[in-house]
Symmetry: C2
Subunit: 142 residues, 2 copies
């Protein structure tokens, strides 16, 4: 793998299938581009307006899906001044694949809250997570 | 593996972790009892009162989590008259592991609708799914 860039963050549109009694929403198949193994699946609620930032994984590939609400994800490189912004949720139903090595934060855009599913390539391991405070990376959150 | 019985359906309580900006909800780790490999993850919405039934998988192990709402799952064996009933959702946050070979149906209990995540051991394959109509298995749905 070459040097990590923001172009390595991948957005993949997902199908929503109309079904009697309630729709079916695709999330990920083992054969999909971006699948990097299954370590853990967990949900994060994010309240409207709330910001969760910043984190960087040393080893985890994240695959993020938002079945409820709408979430803005911000990505940047270490020391970089460039940001990549991707919004996914019910208004744009898609999966974001985030390789290890990229700083990220996210903000809930929908009231009352949005739900993020992370299909993570490794189980949660605090030793592979770096954190910075919101103020440490100067992105203009609204 | 011995003969499949309804006791092979496994319910595992899951953690909900209070977090600033929105809670984190566990779903599954690769080391958890009941994990049988990752084939596909997908969501099913189920409207309040709606019933989706009946299906049986020949090969898929399902791991079911309900992060929003409340869902009643009904399980039975082929030709059996016995039913196992498990309700999970925000009132009882847990995962249900369903081995292959068991008939199942489910009903939304919460308004306006509930969300089911299936962490499936194989990708969707119509050839390994058997279906029966609601009336073919006489369970007393309300």
């Amino acid at each position: 793998m070459g040097a990590m860039t923001l172009a390595n963050v991948m957005v993949t549109p997902l199908a929503r299938i109309e079904t009697a009694g309630g729709d079916v929403l695709h999330a990920m198949k083992q054969t999909d581009a971006g699948y990097a193994g299954f370590g853990e699946a967990y949900f994060s609620w994010v309240d409207a307006g709330a910001v969760k930032a910043w984190k960087r994984h040393a080893r985890m590939t994240m695959n993020l899906v938002v079945p409820i609400g709408q979430v803005r994800f911000i990505f940047c490189l270490d020391g970089g001044r460039e940001f990549r912004v991707e919004e996914i949720g019910t208004d744009r139903y898609a999966r974001i694949t985030v390789p290890a090595g990229i700083w990220f934060g996210f903000q809930g855009l929908a009231a009352p809250r949005s739900l993020v599913l992370n299909l993570a390539s490794i189980p949660h391991d605090p030793h592979e997570i770096e954190r910075r405070s919101l103020a440490d990376i100067s992105y203009g959150w609204n």
